[in-house]
Symmetry: C2
Subunit: 970 residues, 2 copies
């Protein structure tokens, strides 16, 4: 389950949250798709009537109504209730009832109870949804009765009557699920209009408004309930506009619209072979049924699958009295955030339009106005504000937003409508925000004592921190997206295309910014990858070589972009119809996987004081330590600056790829006897020693886990003719001889081949050299006063005998170095990776020879799942997309399967050795959902790439808080 | 543990047991390495004395001795006793005390108690060994006292005295561990001789015999106890022979030897700076200490490691009165088997030499004589027999052997010495035998009611049955061994070397017998493999493609023979200094892994009535069903003739390699859209249908499990230019296009890649075709009255969602075929392989969608152990040889690690679905130790290659018997 959630979260995070304006537009969008433009001028004489229409609900309801509601409430136990009334300051539900009422319904009830002006209405619970669909789209009869009772209460509060030709009550019918499913289900507005009530409405407001409302109701109801294609209606409207020679709907008069309505009714008659239902009751049941039924529409099902929303949750239906922001100049509609959703600043922030409906904001016909001075942006700096234009309503809005924020203890996204100067609240919910804003808001609210520090920690999505640490793309200045790969390493990068690592290095030395494009990368490409701004590969998954190394470097990477057809020889690639040549400019968005042809503007991140503060709080709360995976002193320093508390994985092999070293490494591998191998190793010894010394110094006082040589030897071998010749010459052997040696090192499944400690067992001299280098460098650094804590890690142990033998070898070398350096206190501890399923299964036996375990969950996943991360790109994305798997198990640990192995390893290891130090150094160490799992199973630390350290710290703190609160609730 | 034992057993089985003669030599070899030739003629006057020397022990001992022994026995509790006396018809120990007394000591005690004439002596228990070595090579004082008491008893029984110059008692000091460790530890004979006692001995026998015995004692003691290099002694002897101008030791006279003894004493003095110990007591402690100490010598340690004998077992030390077969012509020594060890016939069978020591048999100076008419062979048909020459001793020997066989209820390997016409038994133990003899003896003994049928079943080493089913090499007519690989598939093969599958096919069609030699094989080579007599590969392990396929075909295969340097282009290979060209004759021994240059004579197996009988018994006892892995009707028939009760694994992919089909398969794989893939599949459908139909007919009445397509698609792709062109042409696509497609199918770790059900998920049309072919062929066969039981198996499931989806697909196709064939009763059941660790971990969830599980323990081992069987050849043999691993986990299932996954799969699967059918179809299904494990965890069946079926039946029966007897003892 946690993995599922994490994916959903990471998807959201990857959306690259836009500025407040866009957010506001989105929210508005959802409101009233059918509410179109409005009569420009409501005649003055109608004003009073409109006011009257709104009056009753906002004033305390009479005693009789009160007693009626109380009676209804008493009539049934809360658990049996399926229709929940809200209005006039009282509600059957509350904010904690999202399961039953959906998010919208729960918050409408809550606001009502708070005494906030909400148009009265009622919510039909989510339970009814399943019931409805099970019964073949029929409402249970007792629900019908309850609906009628609730509707009567609304009539009374509004002093209007449903279907009354004089004072008709109009209602909206909206869906509202437990989780937000924007735009997925159906909505019907203005329900209650018919040939009679439209006349009454015209009297209360004006004719144009009334018939425009009726027209749109017919279209909406026709579309949603009766299945009449909406383009038939739109076509008729176009005809009317054409006939009148006008452009906009707003230019049609009341009588124009009256004619349109007539035609609309005919369209319905024609399409359904039945008249448009004139009975508001019939309309009501039709619309409620349609909204419940829309839970099962294809769009909604697809959305649920994508977002892991269970099918059996169901939606609630909200039936609510209509209020109008488009009845005249003293009407308005708007959206606001209680704090700035882009920056998190503590300013009330929003937009509104006078005499308008929410849709107008989206339509972009008019520029929305800022609600106050703080909300002004460049485009709106000269426009009047709500504060200026409708000071009374604004003042009330301010009072309400403060009330809401304080009540909900979180930043709120609110929607309001002002009808004839009277403020109505239509929605409140926790506001979406950028990750920067999330941090700022959480920290501010904790400082304001609105929430506790622990709550502040829980408020920030750990995954979203990635955005804070990497440059992002300014979407307004981005070229077109030509392909999409996996968002393998976050951030943004712009540069010239280069197709080889050498080329990347050369061009970068010349000062150019380059994007390294490869079919896939291999360890030989590391220098080139380091020189590049970003990396793009055609093959490989989220944990391919390119992805892992890029994340380690904190460098943007888009991987597994299958659309690329790369031709190295010609220095060109085809992406669909586009031809991209070496030197062309590409932009990569590593947070979304987008590849853009051309140059985008990028925005550098700023880490504010709030971030630093929040990180401090996390450190106080969490139990899980956070280390980093770092192979160089530089990486180590970066990670330390992000708060790493040690190195959990230092891969020695990356050190072997430097041009000055690789030849020696090759000599070592191709040596035909122990002596010549030892000669080559003797040359490597001082190099490795200096590597480690730098790292120990950078990590003064903190533990450093060095993993001995792990990858199959052939990864280091030469491929080009020239390189093979060089090695042959250096060894005084024939080309054929070397070629034969290279062939014999070929493996069918290198992942399961001669690697890890198997190398140490076959060639003990290699591991002996590495242990010597580690110990000697630690001795040297220690002699300079550096506090070294070396930990030697033996990789790929599958049987305790392997560790037993390698431990003995390491201990012997350490003892030797200690004898050579009398008085030194340096004494590395020795442990192993648990990365082979068998190692987890037999952890009790392996623990006999280990001071620590470090779970290699990448390999554990590869082997436990029989999934090669380099090859999974051919099918794994399909698995996840088609819903077969909840998540890519390389991104979030598969707690259900692979997690069992980790748990076993922990339990069995500690069973043998209670003081066993336990950590994880796979990619999962930087994934918040996985970190929570690791905290839960009781690891001592996680280790992740430097740029993921803050994220892991936060996730670890969240896990600790969650555990505490579980403990408290137990 | 069972895996360990199995290895030890399989090693023994692989030794290719020689005929009785060789066995006899071996046994004799172990006896008395230091007893060299003997005086040719013992003077007649000494005869009486010699008789006297032997008399006392073979007649009932006097009451005083009896009471002494009884007293000693009463003096200490059995558990405290560390010195165990035997002699005169009474013994402190018995045959059941091998742990304490070692094998030799236990049987000497047992024979003594049976009243069989055994030279008296005593055994110092194995407990003392550890104690001795722990104390820094010192005997505990109380043991010393007990030894002296026991020695006094021996003196009394023999009427000789230790160190007595007149009637000196001589003793042998021999090791004897719980498990036989032939030649690994030290022995000292003739102990008790010194300058005084040698004179007494000369008087009792003759001078030459006495000094020759003394000489050899000094050399042996000097070497074993004092560490004087034995070549110094040998050199001195050569000098003496040279001086006398003689060739053989036997030509030296008594006085020559007296001089040699003098020099030997000097050699010791010189080397040790001390005189040779003259005190027999000192000699005794020295020799006992040396034998205990030899438990820790390098040879013994290495042997224990190789044979998995725990270091803490220790050896016992046997101190026994000497008897001599070389004191004259009424002396003899011999070895016999109570039944013929080569054929199992119920004939007393043995060899002896007059006036000789065991070593003379080995030295080959004289041809050993047959003990009776039945023991005559070609070489010995004219020699006199023991029965003829010494009828009285022979008669007694017959009485004794019958007694022993009846007592031990098994065929015995016995050693005897006749001193002056008096028979002494020196050893009895279960006799080694060929696998054919083992079957014959077990069945005969059961028929004779000597043992039960269940015991008969336990008496045959299941692994050894391999020998019965395959041709073997006549070692007397075998060319030299030029290389050694892995014994990948048993049997023998002789043929011309061919380096390509096509060549093998062509030559075989021309009537030639060929050996296919490849660096490694791939599925494309199958036709050539089938055409060849045997297969030899340079790479790959016991479960490489070559090995698995060869075993399936019952064809001899030597795999992973690293010494081969093959050059395909030139049609030549280098093996060390030998050059082997195409067309040269090679002989392969698939049971030992030997490669011979030239032609060996092979012996075809004969399956006698005893084998058939034994197999019948196994079927009555076992609970585990035995199925076979078969891909063709031919294989299915062979397996059925061996008793297979169904097909547990029918691999559909092997059917794809026929030349007529492979092009269509390639078209299917390279299709760029579903429609053209379906076109190719439509062509494959009738082919697969006819495949399955043949198999269903061959398996009438028995279940057939068909596995849907499993291997990565690239295994089917063309490699040669011509083949690629053919495919391109047939698809109307460019060569470059096809090449690009081939590249994109390349995988880094195909084992963990796009294979198994992942193919079915990506290309559901492939699996749909296969399910249709299976169902339709079953319908067709069923319409003809064949009783079909089809089972469809989905491979490589790692997550239940995969199986859920594939099951749905299969069910839909089956339903369709059933609709198309109204009235058919055919309805395949659907199950899955459990071959991915995660599948075992989540078997409870997977079982929701499975009618059966078949454990794929090959892949489970590969993934659980992170061991690619194709690549493990580079290090796994070293692992096993160096003792790091007990056994190759691909040969015998690793019960400790991978076994946990099987157990989990069983338990969790049945937890969800108690009626789940459970089997195994990995290579382990044909390994007896693994079969026992599978029986223990409660599988319903195992499935193995056809030639392993009898072996699996036997192993399954043994498991059932073992379980019953455990149940009884509980």
């Amino acid at each position: 389950m946690s993995a599922r959630k994490a994916t959903a979260r990471s998807k959201k995070a990857a959306e690259n949250k836009p500025a407040a304006k866009k957010v506001a537009k989105k929210s508005a969008n959802k409101k009233a798709a059918a509410k179109k433009t409005v009569a420009k001028k409501a005649p003055a004489k109608k004003t009073r009537a409109k006011k009257a229409m709104a009056k009753k609900a906002s004033t305390p309801k009479p005693a009789s109504a009160k007693s009626k509601i109380a009676k209804a409430a008493a009539a049934k136990a809360a658990s049996q209730r399926r229709v929940f009334f809200f209005g006039g300051g009282k509600a059957d539900g509350h904010a904690g009832m999202k399961e039953t009422l959906g998010g919208k319904g729960a918050n409408l009830a809550e606001m009502t109870s708070l005494g906030i002006p909400v148009p009265p209405g009622f919510t039909i619970s989510t339970d009814v949804c399943a019931d409805f669909n099970r019964r073949g789209q029929k409402l249970p009869p007792e629900v019908k009765a309850d609906v009628l009772t609730a509707l009567a209460n609304v009539e009374q509060l509004m002093d209007l009557r449903f279907g009354d030709p004089e004072r008709p009550l109009l209602v909206s019918i909206r869906s509202g699920a437990r989780a937000s499913m924007p735009g997925m289900m159906d909505t019907v507005l203005n329900l209650g209009l018919n040939d009679d009530t439209v006349v009454g409405l015209a009297k209360l407001a004006d004719e144009r408004f009334a018939f425009d409302s009726y027209r749109r109701f017919i279209q909406m109801y026709g579309d949603v309930v009766l299945g009449v294609p909406h383009d038939r209606f739109e076509h008729r409207l176009d005809v009317a506009k054409e006939a009148r020679g006008v452009q906009d709907d707003t230019d049609l008069t009341g009588s124009d619209l009256r004619a349109v309505v007539r035609d609309y009714l005919e369209i319905v008659q024609e399409a359904t072979q039945a008249p448009f239902p004139q009975d508001p009751q019939v309309q009501l049941w039709g619309a409620i049924g349609a909204v419940f039924g829309s839970w099962e529409n294809a769009r909604a099902i697809a959305y649920r699958r994508l977002n892991d929303i269970p099918d059996d949750w169901g939606t609630a239906v909200n039936v609510q009295s209509m209020v109008f922001g488009n009845m005249g100049d003293n009407c308005a509609t708007g959206v606001a955030f209680t704090r700035n959703p882009a920056t998190g600043e503590r300013n009330f922030y929003g937009e509104y339009l006078k005499n308008a409906q929410g849709e107008d904001v989206v339509a972009g016909i008019r520029t929305p106005q800022p609600i106050n001075e703080e909300s002004r942006v460049e485009d709106t700096k000269k426009l009047p504000t709500l504060e200026g234009e409708m000071p009374k309503a604004y003042k009330e809005l301010v009072k309400i937003y403060k009330r809401l924020e304080k009540h909900y203890r979180d930043m709120q996204d609110i929607e309001f409508t002002i009808q004839d100067g009277v403020l109505w609240m239509l929605q409140t919910r926790a506001g979406k925000r950028t990750s920067g804003a999330a941090v700022q808001i959480a920290v501010d609210m904790a400082r304001e004592k609105l929430i506790t520090r622990k709550e502040a920690i829980q408020r920030v999505d750990a995954n979203s921190l990635d955005q804070l640490l990497h440059p992002t793309i300014d979407p307004s200045k981005a070229p077109p997206v030509i392909a999409r790969g996996l968002p393998a390493s976050p951030g943004a990068a712009v540069g010239e295309v280069v197709f080889s690592a050498e080329g990347a290095e050369a061009k970068a030395k010349g000062g150019a910014k380059v994007i390294l494009v490869r079919i896939e990368t291999s360890p030989e490409d590391i220098v080139g990858m380091n020189a590049a701004e970003g990396i793009l590969t055609a093959k490989g998954g989220m944990t391919s070589h390119a992805a892992v190394v890029a994340r380690g470097m904190g460098k943007c990477c888009v991987a597994g972009c299958g659309a690329l057809a790369i031709n190295y020889e010609q220095g060109v690639m085809r992406i669909g119809d586009d031809i991209v040549r070496e030197g062309d400019i590409l932009t990569l968005n590593g947070s979304t996987g987008e590849v853009m042809l051309g140059e985008a503007a990028t925005v550098l991140p700023e880490l504010g004081g709030a971030f630093t503060e929040l990180m401090k709080w996390t450190d106080k709360v969490r139990k899980l330590r956070v280390r980093t995976n770092a192979d160089t002193p530089q990486d180590a320093k970066v990670a330390r600056s992000f708060g790493a508390e040690g190195i959990g994985l230092c891969r020695t092999e990356h050190m072997f790829f430097e041009p000055a070293r690789i030849l020696v490494v090759r000599q070592m591998i191709l040596a035909t006897d122990v002596r010549s191998r030892e000669e080559a190793l003797a040359k490597l010894l001082p190099m490795q020693r200096s590597d480690f010394e730098g790292i120990f110094r950078a990590m003064d006082g903190l533990p450093v886990t060095v993993r001995l040589l792990d990858p199959p030897l052939h990864e280091f071998l030469p491929h080009s003719e020239a390189d093979i010749q060089t090695v042959a010459d250096s060894l005084g052997r024939s080309l054929g001889d070397i070629r034969h040696a290279l062939e014999s090192l070929h493996e069918f499944n290198p992942m399961l081949g001669h690697r890890g400690c198997r190398l140490g067992i076959t060639y003990p001299e290699i591991y002996a050299m590495q242990v010597r280098a580690i110990t000697e460098s630690a001795v040297n650094a220690s002699a300079d006063g550096v506090r070294v804590k070396p930990e030697i890690m033996i990789p790929l142990v599958s049987h305790e005998a392997e560790l037993q033998r390698m431990r003995k070898l390491a201990e012997d070398v350490i003892a030797e170095v200690r004898r050579e350096n009398p008085g030194t206190r340096v004494k590395p501890i020795i442990g192993t990776m648990i990365e082979v399923p068998r190692a987890a299964l037999t952890a009790d036996m392996i623990a006999k020879y280990a001071d620590f375990f470090s779970f290699g969950t990448n390999d554990l996943t590869q082997m436990g799942y029989a999934l090669s991360r380099d090859d999974a790109g051919n099918f794994l994305p399909d698995y996840v997309e088609s819903g077969l798997l909840d998540a890519d198990p390389f991104v979030s640990i598969d707690t259900e399967g692979i997690g069992q192995l980790v748990r076993m390893g922990v339990e069995r290891g500690r069973q043998t050795r209670p003081d066993l130090k336990l950590g994880v150094c796979g990619e999962h160490g930087g994934d918040p959902a996985s970190v929570r799992f690791f905290a839960e199973v009781g690891l001592d630390y996680v280790s992740c790439s430097p740029y993921r350290v803050p994220l892991a710290r936060l996730a670890a703190a969240q896990a600790a808080v969650a555990e505490q609160s579980e403990g408290e609730s137990d």
